[in-house]
Symmetry: C2
Subunit: 530 residues, 2 copies
């Protein structure tokens, strides 16, 4: 056992006056890992903020190419320690080494970093807007203070506080990052932070552009996100923690972007089930069990009509859920939290059809679980019947007809996604038209005939949605360059002399490729001043 | 005297069980106007929200051309009642009929509405983003519930809750509006709402697309902005009210955009004062006295070096402030609030050089007021020395040198604007480079050699800035189409069948002019699917 160092103020050092130490665990064996990680004190976090603020000032005047260079070097450094990263992340999360960790999530992570580098070099992300007549020019720019990133427990690389989407977006937008590791993945996070810090030094970024703490007490977290010198916060995690941080940041007028919880409703129209219920049942199980059900976009709520097609579908789904073994959960909290959520659902009127209990075995796990409830009951108790269970747990809502299906949609809270499966030939297009307008305003991403668990890293992705899925319906946590805008401020320049403008707003297009809105037209050309 | 009707649920009617009645006043004569306006009850506001929600659902499926048509008809209706509007607004605000009301603010207001109409027809505002390989498509769309708009007291047309920038932006983005009038301008607001409602009927919008209440109690306002069926809120007004509404909306996860307060610092570098201090003094007084000093962008804080140029400049400014009569303020609160603010500044160490007291005369007014403080004192007590006085009141900060000027900039709260005046020949470019990076992160709009009070309605305008000037540093309240995005949600479509996509996201460009980001390139063309 050794006490691990934190990354602060431009170097690795022992935590000063820590509030204690902790260990991450091996959930497949219900055992503790040997390395010991500090819980940082308020004073240490204050020092970190101060260093982050100074790094933000330094980053204001460095060329974006250095940031792009950092992102690319970091991606290469990650690849260079793939074996180590796969080993430690597998130990800490029990996620399969193949294909999940090595072949899917790690390349996704380096791809995100490289996409961010491309966006930084090309500069269109800043949405430069130039009005020549009034000579007012605007673009998005860095916040002037470090961005705090809280990472979740379900993507050890791709959403990690020191390598994931929020990290890449914040740095690419020109901000230093203060990463707060997920306590369940501190070993993985340490390796990633080492790779990041080597890239910081090699690319010539301010050394405090990346800082890392492993754990802090709640009150220190609240101080951190509301500190006047902090730029903004990105948080991915559970709703209770997210709401506490949101309240503190909101009160201080500090932007905070949260991705908190979602049951990702899937509406199966009867004609689709008549057409292909077995095929869809297979798709549903595959989506529900991905990552042992611990995906933000896991389909936890299924809406079908109470008719023969609906029952046939339920039978097929029950078969898949029953035939397959549940996966390992991330921690001892996993089975407990799922059991609590299932109890809430049952108390609210749902009936357990399958599973419903913690699973015996060497690792933390919970039985594959199916519940059902009538549309009438759902409508009476819709709040509690939307409780998220973070595992392979799905609630079927059996509605009387399409009108009640629409009523169920109207009762939904904000979600990341909403899916509608319908007949390939368009037999139920009228029902689709009934449901879609209601569902549209409840979700960030609307899908047709597709499960929500695949989240492509493309510009048109919305990994966001209305509250309480997130804190604001206008932003996505995934998809470059959109996700970068969260960590930027709108900077307008009125009558500013040309030689003092940022290069993105000078008459000459700085890259020859940057898209700028000049007098209402998007252009890759230079500004022509009459 | 007659009791005025409210506009609710698609028609004008008497308020039901109002909490009381009130009158607006004539500030030039310190007298009450005769019309009596109701304070609406909680039940009435709940009915309004319900009607607004239904209107939002109806607006989801109407063609945007109807919204554009509404905006244009409304602008024409306003022009048709120009005389009546100028008369009543002059009575309620004491703003000059010529040129301010008739020739400046009214045309600005109709221009904003028409710019919004152009944006709606052309559709580029929605930032349609299409990735053909993954077939994911996204755009900004309406929020699914009514937008609440609270209007300020200082622009009876251009920021009015029922005709101003927030109103135009919210409707243009496809949302119904619940307008909450500024109680000081209920007569003006009534005339504007009549013009709006005629346009609603003529253009075929849902009749509850525009609703109007005159006044509500604080707790009803808090309920309104946090109601689950409301889409978002736009607020322009004082900081205490704004912060209360923000807290309620934040807690409910409802977006709220606030424009609250700003002292709009202006930094005068010494070489600029050496070069042209008399000319600049004239500019400063003109800006400080615009609208009797009741502009959001009024320059209330001036920073100069404590040297001969700084003293010469102060003398010139003092002459302008002393020679001119102060204008009329909007209400009896005006002189009282300014006196309070001046007292706060004095208690914090500022010295009154001129004015400082309520002005005698037939109308509400306050003496043109100048104060000064040393840089040392400012740095010691910077919070209180940034108190906004909503009138012709300006605090000079005399700093020891450019380092202290930078230190003052670093202590600034978030502001709408920040200006730097410097030598035309570039003699003090080095000082500019010292100050600018610090000031940049504190303000929404950075100006050179220009006073902040002119707010052009162009795409590159940022009438916004970091907290507490607003609630979020990424949005502008002025400038179409940017201001519309505040009242929109990001809607992503994943694998959605082409005939079900909104027209903005179908393969064919719906207008032939709409800009869309297709596979990373902005284009006005069609999507070519291989």
């Amino acid at each position: 056992m050794s006490n691990q160092k934190i990354l602060i103020a431009g170097g690795w050092r022992d935590a000063r006056n820590p509030e204690g130490f902790f260990h991450s665990s091996n959930p497949a064996e219900k055992s503790e890992l040997s390395d010991s990680f500090p819980i940082s004190s308020r004073e240490e976090v204050l020092e970190m903020i101060q260093s982050g603020k100074e790094a933000a000032e330094a980053m204001y005047s460095i060329p974006p190419e250095k940031i792009a260079d950092f992102l690319e070097k970091f991606a290469s450094n990650i690849e260079a320690c793939t074996d180590e990263l796969v080993e430690i992340a597998h130990l800490e999360t029990a996620l399969p080494k193949e294909t999940r960790l090595r072949a899917v999530e790690l390349p996704r992570t380096t791809d995100q970093l490289r996409q961010a580098a491309v966006a930084v070099r090309e500069r269109s992300w800043a949405k430069a807007t130039i009005d020549t007549k009034s000579n007012i020019r605007a673009k998005f720019g860095a916040l002037g203070g470090p961005v705090v990133v809280f990472g979740p427990n379900n993507f050890p690389y791709a959403f990690n506080s020191v390598s994931g989407g929020d990290f890449a977006s914040a740095i690419a937008a020109g901000n230093p990052v203060i990463a707060k590791a997920n306590p369940a993945q501190v070993g993985t996070t340490k390796v990633l932070a080492e790779a990041a810090f080597e890239a910081v030094k090699a690319s010539g970024l301010p050394k405090a552009a990346v800082q890392l703490i492993y754990h802090i007490k709640t009150e220190v977290g609240l101080m951190l996100v509301s500190h006047p010198d902090v730029g903004a916060t990105g948080f991915t995690g559970g709703r209770p923690s997210g709401l506490k941080l949101k309240e503190a940041a909101d009160k201080a007028g500090k932007p905070i972007y949260l991705e908190m919880s979602s049951v990702n409703p899937v509406f199966f129209l009867s004609e689709a089930l008549n057409e292909r219920h077995k095929e869809i049942a297979t798709e549903l199980y595959a989506s529900c069990s991905l990552g042992s059900g611990q995906f933000c976009t896991n389909p936890g709520l299924v809406v079908v009509e109470n008719n023969e097609a609906g029952m046939d579908f339920l039978n097929s789904v029950t078969k898949s859920f029953a035939e397959n073994e549940p996966g390992t959960l991330f921690s001892s909290n996993g089975p407990k939290n799922i059991a609590d959520a299932v109890a809430t659902l049952v108390n609210a009127g749902a009936e357990v059809l399958l599973g419903g209990k913690e699973n015996d075995g060497p690792g933390y796990s919970f039985q594959n679980t199916l519940l059902k409830v009538s549309g009438d009951t759902f409508l009476q108790n819709s709040k509690h019947l939307q409780t998220e269970a973070f595992g392979t747990v799905t609630l079927f809502v059996f509605v009387n007809n399409s009108d009640q299906m629409k009523a169920v949609a109207a009762k939904l809270e904000g979600n990341l996604t909403g899916s509608i499966y319908s007949d390939r030939g368009g037999e139920d297009d009228q029902v689709y038209k009934q449901i879609e307008p209601v569902l549209r305003t409840k979700v960030g991403r609307l899908l047709n005939d597709k499960m929500p668990t695949s989240v492509a890293v493309v510009a048109s992705m919305n990994h966001g949605g209305p509250y309480p899925a997130t804190g604001h319906p206008g932003f996505s946590a995934v998809g470059i360059p959109g996700s970068m805008i969260r960590f930027a401020a709108l900077h307008s320049y009125d009558n500013v002399r040309e030689h003092r403008l940022p290069v993105e707003l000078k008459n000459e297009n700085p890259t020859g490729k940057m898209w700028r809105l000049i007098d209402g037209q998007w252009s890759q050309g230079n500004v022509v001043v009459n």
